[in-house]
Subunit: 337 residues, 6 copies
């Protein structure tokens, strides 16, 4: 496959929420204040890719109030095109995050069931126009989980993207607090035919796409690549030592080549939300630069993922040079002065 | 009418929400953090009456998560009996408050449409038990506005309260962001037959109860007292000099006596949310102490209302001696040292 | 004169600095933390006009470091086009603000003498391209004061603007901490021939443009309008009651009509920095909407100016409806709920 | 021994203080602000047991001012019965905590010598009434150390508890900043005859109860069990790797069975104050559920102890399910979303 | 009387405490954090005089812990000589301040009864050495109120000061939370013979020094000047409009001349603690510069007093030029930029 | 060599800057506030030595504004003599610090190029007077890097120090953001003849002093000791495991004895700025106490260095007993209570 047209836009679509986090590792029950930032899977990918030098456009629906304005201001501050975000319905999606510490795991409380994003409908967007100048479209299973409306909108967008020969990446991102596996099993298969680059784990193939659970991981990947005619399946494996220290490595399974693995890294965590989105962003960045160098893409992915976890909030704001530096030094650098 | 049995419980019923306020008079659009506190009309009345020395019980429905736990912890910290709060449904009600300053008015964004409180149903509560040990029941038009469920629950509670000869106070509290006047007109009249002490303004009688709009204010009050067989109609008039400075006086119209007015006070505002609830609390406190001294009750009401506005949050935590002191000194006191 | 082409861009040019303010009315000498925001005369005008619905472009020079990135992120978050900002030189301009309170006046310490903005040169910018799609150009005397480089750049920009028939507004903004009146006298006269809409006070005409000091204010204005062929001279008079309470009214002197005055407003101040820029923004907004309605423009100017002073930071983020509401209610509004 | 009557109340008695902690690992000498929370050994045990589902009552003396009110509000917010707290004397007990970091140990400065709690006298409390509805009484050596008054009150309470067949637990908690070992030696022996469940270390037996110092730890425990007719001796051993990382395991020595040990855990520390109280709470919870399952009690103790150290403040607010989850996953859990 | 030797040291003696203030006008009962600063009458006078250009020495006793270190660090940071502060005893004096707002008055809770300062004894200090290089000694009734120890130390210091011909100023500062009027009546008279410059109100003469209560204010002053052979009696009258707005004017009664009054000022209050100390400091500064110009001294006093109230904390850090500027502009100044 | 005269003053000279740090490990680009503290190599050494019990004097130049006042107040609060600091020029030096976390390295942005300190000239200081009462002079390569002015001032100071037989220590502290190695090579050799105690690494000898790069480290040290007639060369080696965890050991090479090494310590980092200055301070303290015990000095150095890194800011405020305790316990201590 030839390389991606870098001068074109990366499009992502989904929900962006207000996140509320008790400061200083506090518990929600006792919180007297919350830190506020905006985040959401596909929005986070757009932000990171913007910092990695790409033109990015985020598609969504937001309420016509100050909270919606705040989300747009956040996106614009990172250079995202927000022209296609529709304003309507009355409610912002939120989530509360209780940050884990050491032996205490983090917790999330969602408040997004009736949000504006769940009201996205295909007719809200001129997908033909949007994708005519796009080179890549990224979507995740979270948007699929939101509502019948969003599911219809996802499929309409995927169809339009394909018609415009836009590369499609999809991140499984199954969330048990949003829907059951039984519900999910109905919709993920509808998405698969459109996907070029898939972010998924063996769990996803076995439980959601209902592959033979006894197959070993590598065979599962090969079968999936073939069955859905995917270019790459990407993922990462995380060992949780504590809420504040993890180990991680990434893999890419190319269509007909041997799997590729990154080094394994042990790292400290300041805020782990958005780690997966940063991973996807790094991989996409690598593939846009050189679609035929999945090793580089996987390295970009894992480094961006780890760096994200050293800063507060849902988004990675690291540049390519920050990432290259991490890969060169493995995180063991002096203060720059 | 004889005095209220002070040793019995004051019951209030409604929604308690998480309030999120940008610190330092900030705007919601730019907020990077929020102050968090809990509040809601009838809950605020219970809290203030607890600080004024009464046994109080608050009835509501809250989600079975950490946010619901936080609301209960808040209520308990002020000594409220929370045994009758039902845990269920999945969503906490919220509201965002942008605090006004000088020439810039405050703003509220509600996020409560699908909250647990809107799912309150009569069968959730053993009203017979609750009111058997109660002396007073306070309710407001906000709870009436929430849903058909809450309306049915209000009426069931009012009926039970009356059967137990409990005094009923009701605060009109019409909120245009919750329902239209047309909708409101259907339900307020259903409540009126149960009410003994009413908090309402001429606007409420004209627009919602559809009294003759050309009648003057005093006649309106007299007619209302007679029509609904009320003991007292209470209210306050506020002159808004700026978001941070107001003037206020209170009135009480007794059933068959001359109206009573308090002094007019000019005062500075730190946080005006809950002012009306503090007023109602002060009046109820006065009437529980001496049902036949509406002047004292009005004074307690206005002082509690003004003092509330000097502290952050939705609730008044002032004691009777704080209020007496305010009335004695009109707010012109030295630091106590 | 016909109306301004609203679909075109408003261009402003100058320095944007990092402002550091001790929180809670603290003194710089004892500060252990600072609030940080970005601001600068012409940048503030661009931000406010963006919130008032205009396409805006800000021209400047910023260092190629994280502080420069932060300034650009701030501008983008408000929807400003930053494509023409040059990155170079090594230093960000700063200023420290000690916020006044009551009888204690505010203080500013500048640290901008060697900033990147002082290194702006005409060849950094393709003014021909910039102004070909512009309808308005706004500049202030602060940029003139920075360096010989900025003075040359100002004149090159003004010339190009005029060639493209762009309306030019200029705000005197004389700052004694940046240069002496003697120095200023050399350069303001060079700017005057390009100006259509002037923001200036009688002081400016007498001291800087060296008009006859004995002439009365109105005659001074008339003479200035004639001498420089101005369309409008605008300004405001401020009575400082304390650092936290002022009175203000605005005036516009049209070329050959009677002067226009707004009401006088007494208002409370949360943060007075950027008041003049908000005034200019309001006036420009009014004139872009209807160049022949200076009364409306003056009202927009004074209301935007007062509202700005109710929020933290250098910029007004108010919409036209916020401003209309202020003018309608004179700041005496209820919380909206 | 039969199981404890769970429907009855757990009573604890002691001092609750205001704790003042410089934020962000700051030093007291340079502090410009302090975080404030309330805590004290026996009060912390009551709070944790309340979160573990027990009815709890805390006995103490507090000054009749806003600081005393704050302590009571804290206790109530956690559901503690505060009806038996006497208000009197004029001074609140405080302590300042400098939180350690890495190689720098924490420090405590007490200011409690003349506190209201030191004035507790037996006649302040109706112990007969208090213990008639109690199932468990917990006390610690800290209360013993405060004053002759508290010592007399402790003995009166212990006596009453025994008369009502209430289980008594006692935590040695020797504090060298409160009294010398010589002083302590006089009073601990007076308490021992009342104790059923003892929290103590070999150090305590050797130094304070003056057992033969050459006996090995296990023999010491056996002798102590026999000598004082104890049901269980419980404790934990801590290896301090740094102020922010420790290792810990717990033990229980039953009267006539083999000692029981938990796993050893390595864990990160956010705030280590109250660790011992959380351990005692976990053990007591286990024994109340099943007095004959000391292994489960020890596990609850160690997990509650470690979880406490991941949150700010003196108290554990974890539920049984949080603790079970920790034991199942050893702290290696994903964010729940 | 000749002028004071300015090159010599101003000595003050008393207690310096840690002050703890809930932020943002919060109430103590709900506080989750406190702002911390150091203050105390005579210490505040030393700090302000240091900022006004004088060599200052503060005499006290502080505990040998980090809190005592913090107090010394505070004093040193303002240039005070702390060489004569004795370290001993174990407890720091504290006070909690609830800042008033509008109609809600401030509150103070003292925790100083057993503080190190109450243990000051004459033998702790080499007064002969201290006063041999001094020009002025300032003391207040607060130190007199602390304990028998401090009273003996005050008298020893006063005696030594007089022997070295040092000017003595004394501020009545009667505090009802420290002692009763009956107790105070025993000790103030012992101090009077040493005083040259007295800060006192008619109340003080009538109630504490037991002058004829029916005498009018001016006669009272004259009699007092004569009776105690005072050079000046100084004071201020404050009208409390609200906790955040006051009016104030100052007076000086010279020994045998007509009384002098300053203008009356209306001003806004950020933090009123230390206002009286700032007044005394301003007056003392004026008298040190020119002992025969009480008008100037009174103006310095009132301006320093008002400026103090615009900043947080107990101390005035204003310079003479800040004060002169205030007097010239009456607080109506522009931001300086 | 005989011991240093401890009763005399330690003099250090250089720049002290305002440091601005985004709180909570935040990035500069997104910062909305900064923590502020003062620091600079030689100033930090003076502060630490003051806490270790020495009379210290810091020589510098600071702007005559509130920022300069703040720096002086900081120095005074730590007991430093600031009498020889000249006030002049208009600009404070700053630096912005982005604190690293885990795999993300810290970053520094300097803003000091035109600061007052760069304008220090020899005639600003009476070095003869300054060094007549001094026992030690400490300087670093940072001051050398600032400007031609500072270089001339350094040499004048060194010359005067030597004339007064003051021990001179010098820390290479090469900073690539201030000058190139080529520039540095011209000036370091001019300093070497004055130095007694040198803080330097093999890198410094090879790259800056241009020793034979192939020589091994120990030979390099020996040659340097001989060539420059040094008493001691001291240094530390750091292994960066992450931005928040390091390993470190120190070495001292005496003139004609075997090198001395400390233990290697693994430690956690809260704030690593000023680590080198704390190391130098510890070593200097050791040598002042006993010039012939370099082992003790190295231990003091490494312990002070590690302890510094557990607190916020540029300075170590630890006492000798804190350091001794660290060395005794290796950082594994209990909370002291």
């Amino acid at each position: 496959m030839n390389n991606v047209k870098q001068e074109k836009t990366v499009v992502t679509m989904g929900e962006i929420m207000l996140r509320l986090t008790p400061p200083e590792y506090g518990k929600i029950e006792q919180a007297t204040s919350y830190l506020a930032n905006y985040g959401g899977g596909e929005a986070n990918v757009a932000v990171s890719l913007s910092h990695l030098g790409h033109q990015c456009c985020f598609i969504s629906k937001l309420p016509p109030n100050e909270l919606g304005d705040g989300a747009i201001s956040h996106l614009k501050s990172h250079g995202i095109n927000t022209d296609y975000i529709v304003r309507g319905s009355s409610t912002m999606g939120f989530y509360f995050l209780e940050t884990g510490f050491g032996g205490r795991p983090g917790k999330v409380i969602y408040n997004r069931k009736h949000s504006a994003a769940t009201r996205m409908v295909p007719s809200d967007y001129d997908f033909d126009k949007i994708f005519s100048s796009a080179c890549w479209f990224h979507l995740s299973g979270i948007t699929l989980a939101l509502s019948d409306n969003t599911r219809r909108t996802c499929l309409a967008a995927l169809k339009a993207a394909k018609e415009h020969h836009v590369i499609v990446s999809f991140d499984f991102n199954y969330r048990s607090k949003l829907w059951t596996i039984e519900e999910a099993r109905k919709y993920y298969p509808l998405v698969m035919p459109y996907v070029d680059v898939l972010f998924a784990s063996p769990f996803d193939f076995r439980k959601i796409l209902q592959f033979n659970p006894d197959m070993d991981d590598a065979d599962l990947m090969k079968e999936a690549l073939k069955k859905y005619n995917l270019k790459y399946i990407c993922g990462k494996t995380r060992t949780i030592l504590s809420a504040t220290e993890n180990e991680m490595k990434a893999y890419v399974f190319p269509y007909d080549k041997e799997p590729i693995y990154t080094n394994e890294y042990r790292f400290q965590i300041f805020d782990r939300i958005g780690a997966g989105d940063a991973f996807a962003s790094g991989v996409i960045h690598g593939l846009i630069k050189d679609f035929n160098n999945p090793k580089k893409a996987a390295d970009y992915g894992i480094a961006n993922c780890i760096l994200k976890q050293t800063i507060f909030g849902d988004v990675s704001t690291f540049s390519e040079s920050d990432i290259e530096e991490y890969l060169a030094n493995q995180g063991s650098e002096e203060v720059k002065r």
